[in-house]
Symmetry: D2
Amino acid sequence: MTTSTDPTPFATLLSRCAPEWEAYRQHAFVRGLAAGTLPAEAFRRYLRQDYLFLVHFARAWGLAVYKSRTIAELRQGLDSLKAIVDLEMGLHVDYCARWGIDEAELEALPEARETMAYTRYVLDAGHRGDLLDLHVALAPCLVGYADIARWIETQAFTVRGPANPYEAWIAMYASEEFQAAAQAERDWLDARLSGQTAGRLDGLAATFRDAVRLEVDFWQMGLDGAGA
Amino acid sequence: MTTSTDPTPFATLLSRCAPEWEAYRQHAFVRGLAAGTLPAEAFRRYLRQDYLFLVHFARAWGLAVYKSRTIAELRQGLDSLKAIVDLEMGLHVDYCARWGIDEAELEALPEARETMAYTRYVLDAGHRGDLLDLHVALAPCLVGYADIARWIETQAFTVRGPANPYEAWIAMYASEEFQAAAQAERDWLDARLSGQTAGRLDGLAATFRDAVRLEVDFWQMGLDGAGA
Amino acid sequence: MTTSTDPTPFATLLSRCAPEWEAYRQHAFVRGLAAGTLPAEAFRRYLRQDYLFLVHFARAWGLAVYKSRTIAELRQGLDSLKAIVDLEMGLHVDYCARWGIDEAELEALPEARETMAYTRYVLDAGHRGDLLDLHVALAPCLVGYADIARWIETQAFTVRGPANPYEAWIAMYASEEFQAAAQAERDWLDARLSGQTAGRLDGLAATFRDAVRLEVDFWQMGLDGAGA
Amino acid sequence: MTTSTDPTPFATLLSRCAPEWEAYRQHAFVRGLAAGTLPAEAFRRYLRQDYLFLVHFARAWGLAVYKSRTIAELRQGLDSLKAIVDLEMGLHVDYCARWGIDEAELEALPEARETMAYTRYVLDAGHRGDLLDLHVALAPCLVGYADIARWIETQAFTVRGPANPYEAWIAMYASEEFQAAAQAERDWLDARLSGQTAGRLDGLAATFRDAVRLEVDFWQMGLDGAGA
């Protein structure tokens, strides 16, 4: 996150929530994915809830479209919606199938508390504030998954390739395409965060911190699923 | 609108606002389009504002995505967004170019009061109520344009083909594709309106009537543009 | 609006929309109120629609309560709501009664396009943006009426006292209490506008200008009522 | 909940979520309040978070004001806001003081996940749907606390009077005033639920069930506080 030059505004926001960010990035669930040692049942629990998460994530990008002021913002929201609804949901259904979760099961799933907590927090942050508040609340997801995939790639205990049952998950988020989307989001955030008042930045840092905490809970929910 | 069998719930809604609907469908602006006699300046004024309208129309469909409860509703909203942002906006820019309005002019346009009135009314109806309220407020646009195109096709004074400078406009909304989209919307509305309480239907009829009145104003704004 | 020292941020915002602000403040409707020459029918049309306006104005302050981040903001929104619902609506009903408009008529009123346009614009500005956007869109009303009352007080053609049938209207908005409420709003706006980026201020100025334009239309609607 | 005659629409909604409702009403936290055996630290954790809850509860009633369609609905929302901001928040601060929690501590509190989960769920249910969805999501709180106080009053293990450190809490929610407010809400819900389609009632029951589950978590959060 640090460079030889001044940190960007988003990097500064991140550094204000460093303990929460590390708790998120280095969570036991993530370590288990990296090492390939995560219990399958934990992953299945995560996968199922992540499908429900995607539905609300799509709703959040719908809200972003509503909140747009420019054609560029409209297109940004629409592109995210397409990525989620046209691409990720399908991949998710396929992925779930490979792990023995069929579509009928996905449709009938009860929503876990941790899924409700994070998704509704994001939606309320977006409604209460403006487009920037919404993006900041969403950042732990898009920017976070990209950062986590890069972190996994650099750990000594990480196992890549067919020996790791979670290779496909790691590869997706480490992919050039996903990394580029996350970088585009960071660039957008840097441009928008630049020049904001200290009071505004405090509020955004609080939103970001809460959102990261709720992402930590989401990993934990998966892990707890292994014992259920 | 009438058939030999019972009217559908949406047809009943329409029949409750028949004077407003006819004022919309048979407006002097529409007659001018049909006969090819509309002053070019009136059409240009309409075209320019319709571009701004599209931006808020896209925002309304973003709101519809946010308000969705099912994957089918998410996809319906996304499909409408794609149609507007990926297709209609581009067509509109091309169309404007043919009428001597360039993109830079479109970007810098001040928003007419009539554009603000209708678009913001729709957005508030959607926020205040649920997805059905939003669709009902949007119906005069999608369903209305399809109905108007069909009405134009049956009038004795209508001129079709190259002799009518507005042929492209008529052809677009009379096209099978647009008519099918409008019919799909009517079907969705019929399914949702069915079985609603009388009080709920009264509220929706009021929303629909107001939205139609504001569409009438939108035509009038175009017409007034000819005298400016 | 100008002082010997630097203008406040809100005064700067005002000065960016000076032509619209003067069109609002010095509108023929306002001049007619000041001189006591406004046709009674114009005033009645305004009064009726202003009642409907109050309903949506209350909704806007409900939205402000929703958008609050602090107890102070909650209380600010609640105080405005109380002022509107507990006080102004009652005064309005009484006032209307004195002008021969009874409450049953008020309840059954169709909403004028100008009422819809301004109120829905404010509500959308508030939903799309944050609490500051909402306040800026509301400012032409609260701050504007106070400014207009002060302007009336300094005009040579103004008639005060029983000779002016609109004395009660002028006195209400010129009252110390209303002026203090408007000043409190200006102070809040000055505090919030301070330190905002140039891009943010441009956006807020555009919102403010549009809202002022729609207030001008609201006066005009009253005036047009005299000829109806 | 049952009577010799047909159950009301709200009673039917309740009966569809009977297991969740009983888990809420008979939670160990509630039993501890009734018997006076709840660890003080559990109550303190609950009290602190309930203060934050009130802030978002007020925001929810602000949203209800925004969503109103009639003067009666405006007043209903405003009355609830006054009860929360003018009355309950003050009582809460006093109550907290008696339990050794000062106002400065309240202002600086981090929000527990369970507080975020329930409050944001309610706010999103209200935004996504209409005023009825919002009320249904809020019902476990207002109607639930009244029902819980009545349930406490009928249990053999309940201790009333100075021997129970939670007497004031029980007395407040068992009070005629609070019971009357809850009954008014039930009456409103019965009127609105009546005649709704089966599909609509299914959706509302799902919202109600989720909200009750999140209230159960809120009790559990208090209880977990005792061990922290």
